[in-house]
């Protein structure tokens, strides 16, 4: 425990800014993964334990696309679109067979794919750590805000994540497709009876969730090292986020992700070895006091 470092940091504006931005980017990446998870759970009532693998695929796709084309925008697009396709196939071919089955069955199918996907990545890209490197466009002087250092890429990352949150939130609330998705989450039988292809909606939502995780992976590729199994810790953390925020709530995912991001970045100063423990402790406290999460609707 190192409380002096924590109080020292809280007293200096430079450290405060640095830690807050690092907390924000952790939080924003987590949000992108977690919101896909929460969306899939909200509509399909399936807990997608293989969601971390989509994050991993996004990162690897982006790295390969960047190495081949040299275009950062194209890398982002490949990361997101590639995982969307994988998500769609995964849902239609495998997950759709275990709807309505026991949670354990769904869990096992996902667990099997976590193992398979990790090995597939190991086969294609090798087991060693890879790095995409910061794109040339962002290799510029960092910004100084109140004495703290903020790399410009962090601003892009936060901006993209916020834009995704906004588009998703508005899209679900205001558009016709959003309305259909919400209806399917509420009563799939009725939606299907009205002549809407629910299988298509399920596949689409899964692809969308996968795409968001892939986007998060692609955005993380320049600032994180890539390794098979990299999705796992992200998966566990985004679970914590969805559970804290409330399964199925987009706002909850955002708030939960930011809280966890800040706990991680400030916790690593005060409790360097117990940072993860802090997150789990926070999760326990939330679950015990509000079992359905901060913004969850149903009370378990």
């Amino acid at each position: 425990m190192d409380l002096d470092a924590l109080t020292g940091c809280l007293a200096s504006s430079a450290c405060l800014v640095t830690q807050t931005t690092s907390g924000l980017i952790i939080g924003m990446l987590l949000f992108l993964v977690a919101v896909g998870l929460t969306l899939i759970f909200g509509v399909l009532k399936v807990v997608n334990f293989s969601h971390g693998a989509f994050y991993m695929f996004g990162a690897y796709f982006a790295m390969t696309a960047y190495q081949l084309t040299g275009s950062f925008a194209l890398a982002m697009f490949c990361g997101a679109a590639g995982t969307a396709v994988i998500g769609l196939i995964f849902e239609r071919v495998f997950m759709s067979r275990v709807y309505g089955a026991d949670v354990l069955m769904q869990l096992l199918v996902c667990y099997a794919f976590v193992l398979i996907f990790d090995d597939v990545v190991r086969m294609i890209w090798g087991p060693e750590f890879k790095s995409m490197g910061m794109p040339a466009a962002f290799q510029v002087m960092p910004l100084f805000i109140a004495g703290g250092v903020v790399p410009p890429y962090y601003l892009l990352l936060i901006g993209v994540a916020l834009a995704a949150a906004l588009i998703l939130g508005l899209g679900l609330a205001r558009t016709r497709i959003g309305k259909v998705i919400r209806a399917a989450a509420h009563n799939p039988g009725m939606v299907s009876a009205l002549g809407i292809n629910t299988g298509l909606i399920y596949g689409g939502v899964f692809a969308l969730g996968g795409m968001l995780a892939g986007l998060a992976g692609a955005l993380a590729a320049p600032v994180r090292s890539l390794t098979p199994g990299m999705g796992f810790s992200v998966l566990i953390e985004s679970f914590i986020v969805t559970v804290i925020g409330g399964m199925g709530s987009i706002l909850g995912a955002l708030i939960g992700a930011l809280l966890i991001g800040l706990i991680r970045s400030f916790g690593s100063l005060g409790f360097p070895l117990f940072t993860e423990g802090l997150m789990y402790l926070f999760m326990v406290i939330v679950l015990v006091s509000r079992p359905s999460g901060l913004f969850g609707k149903e009370v378990a």
Partner: protein, 339 residues
């Protein structure tokens, strides 16, 4: 899949208590035979590999069967049962290293520690239902794992509990002797399984099945659902802890992986592999998984793919565990013979 779903359409549950006593004698007999067979194994083979395999089966088998008491019998899907496996290993190792008491005393002390910890954690967890119960147990598991990693002065952090755990002889049993360790593990396994079988077949065991099938109805007929769930949570934790102690004895140490979530994941996988309908399903699953792990890692470095495909085969193909499958096949054949 729960036991209830697997039993749908099967004959009605035979709960007559008249046969209970004879059934108990039968169970004890089977346990004695099993123990005799296991204990005479070293006379037939001198393969250390095979004996080690049985010891590992004892550790994981006790753990997986105790998890089935929660998952299969009570319908409590715990994702954090492995924390008690880790707690048993660390508790036993620490008591032996720090105090130097004899092995039976350390066993009892570790069980007491597990009892206290499981009661506290269980009191918080069993209030929640279904997926939330699963998540909160997972969170506690990771909390314990983080504590082990960060409390370096006590647990050795990510290096694990090293320096060996002393194995002083007691009552003529010398556990540093491989043969003694083997017999001791087999005895613990058989006794543990027998005790769990008695719990599962007792009136309390049928109360648990009722809670699993319809908690509201159980509550209406006057059962204290919360207390019953907490009791089985603690009991299962004790057996898992014994599994952890066997593991610590076997490897003469304790490592953070013992308390990591993957242990819980493997436990659930074992249950699915063997099946949750029959009492011995998890035991069959344990043997299967360990064989699978040992052979696959020997032949390919990509054992994730092989394991994944096997899981898919069970989850999407069979849709039930191996023992469930065998049991249903047997029941169908029996019905057909009766006409």
């Amino acid at each position: 899949m729960s036991e209830a779903q697997a039993e749908q359409g099967a004959s009605t549950l035979n709960v007559s208590r008249t046969g209970a006593k004879s059934q108990r004698y039968r169970d004890v007999l089977i346990a004695l035979i099993a123990f005799t067979v296991l204990a005479s194994l070293p006379m037939l083979t001198s393969s250390k590999f095979l004996l080690d395999f049985v010891i590992r089966c004892s550790a994981y088998g006790l753990f997986a069967t105790s998890l089935n008491l929660l998952v299969g019998y009570t319908g409590l899907t715990s994702f954090g049962h492995g924390m008690f496996f880790g707690l048993g290993a660390y508790g036993y190792g620490l008591v032996m290293q720090k105090t130097g008491v004899s092995i039976p005393v350390a066993f009892v002390a570790t069980l007491l520690i597990t009892l206290v910890v499981a009661t506290v954690i269980g009191a918080i967890c069993v209030r929640l239902k279904e997926i939330y119960f699963a998540f909160v147990t997972l969170a506690f598991q990771m909390l314990i794992h983080s504590t082990i990693l960060s409390w370096v002065s006590l647990t050795g952090g990510d290096q694990g509990l090293r320096g060996g755990i002393p194995r002083p002889a007691f009552l003529g049993i010398d556990l540093s002797n491989h043969l003694h360790l083997y017999i001791f593990s087999c005895a613990l396994l058989v006794i543990g399984l027998l005790l769990m079988r008695q719990i599962a077949q007792s009136p309390f065991g049928y109360t648990l099945r009722m809670i699993r099938d319809n908690a509201a109805r159980a509550s209406f007929v006057g059962i204290d659902v919360y207390r019953a769930k907490l009791t089985i949570f603690v009991l299962a934790a004790l057996f898992a802890s014994v599994g952890g102690m066997i593991m610590a004895l076997f490897v003469s140490g304790a490592y953070p992986e013992f308390a990591y979530w993957t242990i819980s994941g493997e436990g659930i996988f074992i249950n699915m592999l063997g099946g949750v309908t029959t009492f011995l399903g998890p035991m069959v699953g344990t043997v299967l998984l360990l064989i699978l792990n040992d052979t696959v890692t020997r032949f390919t470095e990509y054992h994730g793919i092989v394991l994944g495909i096997v899981i898919l085969f069970f989850a999407i193909g069979l849709r039930k565990g191996l023992m469930d499958f065998a049991y249903e096949w047997y029941a169908q054949r029996r019905d057909r013979e009766r006409g």
